[in-house]
Amino acid sequence: MGILIEDKQIVVPGEEVAEGMDFLPAPGTFRDGDKIVACQLGLVNISGRLIKVIPLEGAYMPKRGDVVIGKINDLTYSNWFVDIGYAYEAALSMKEATTEFIERGAELTDYYTYDDVIVAKITNVTKSKSIDLSMIGPGLRKLQGGRLLEISAQKVPRVVGKQGSMISMIKEITNCQIIVGQNGRVWISGTEIWQERLASEAVLLIARKAHTHGLTDRVKAFLESGSKK
């Protein structure tokens, strides 16, 4: 009875994490008889009676409320279609695209055109994964300049850090503007090229070492040694 695998250990699908009815399965685990079994590759997280597995890899699964970075792929008479890194494109309707008044017959490419990179919010995801986006809200805009990185969506929480601690540290040391989309896309824009490069290398470092302890100190050391050069 009890915990079979300790907190913060790596489990593979099908491994039994706990035994007995004292625990409850959370995302990443399921109950089978009196056992709690991991169904994803990841780190075990035991908080109170809840046992979950924090995945280390995985494709981006859109959720309502996510702020994502997307690229305009297509446009029709009333919609823009945006690639947000999922199998199917998300729709940005004219109503949600801007607060400006769009006249009948206006040239829609004046607002957003092919290959524009935007920060948008997911307003709705249906059961069959049709995705609606909105551009109305604080910080939602078209991005200009800078560079775009792509990391695994599961590593976004580590890049952001607790209450944004990690990302604000990178912003502070490198003096860059950084936007992290929940879909694993990171936009970095700085005044100096070397600062942009340092910030993007730091983000990639976090993505590589996302499963290790003491990441904040390591990234801090990396940034400080990099900014001295």
Binding site: I10, V12, P13, G14, E15, E16, G28, F30, D32, V37, C39, Q40, L41, G42, P55, L56, E57, G58, A59, M61, Y86, A87, Y88, K127, S128, K129, Q154, R208, K209, H211, T212
Partner: protein, 234 residues
Amino acid sequence: MSYNKRNDGRAFDELRPMDAKVGIIKNALGSAMFRIGKTVALAAVYGPSELFPKFLQKKEEGLLRCTYNMMAFSGSGTRVKPGPSRRSREIELVTRNALESVLDLSECPRAVINVNIELIQTDAGTRCAGICAASMALADAGFKMKDLVAAVSAGLVGDKIVLDLDYSEESFEEGAVDIPMAFMPRTGKIALLQLDGEITKEQLREAIKLAKKGCKQICEVQRQALKEKYKTEE
């Protein structure tokens, strides 16, 4: 003539030496290599991506699509021909069935997940090696699975029940029976069972028992390989 000693000197219930590695293909969402003896399988997982033609799309869940290919230089015998064949279509089907029994794709409706299995070197037991590699690659890609799938073949060579036949045994002169089996070690369920040849009920039971034992050993190798990817980076 009876088969008293195995051609490569193994015990009758012994697997060939195994080796597994995860994350070998950087562009794929998940990937794995599985080697058993001289058979080497590579598997890569891509997706979820848009699925065409549209009538194949499933509203409730994602579709799993497997491809299996023995590379033209991978081995000897008549089986190795470049390109798709009737045989590879069948193996793709049984591989998909075996993997679908553990995989949960309800998170990606309408989409397709592609699993590509390539055999770069073959010495019998390719469908089993392919399933082993594919199951690791799917776990590496972060998909939800009830269990890992391990697979191995057992069979009858001459008058002996043996585990993990190699090509010399599969083509044994006096006749051989090959039983590839995929197994879910935690639940103890069988995900694939095929049989080629003539065998009695008792012998089949014994062969399945032997294959189950082998699958448990393989699963241990798979688990270690999946964990290894994250250990070495410490």
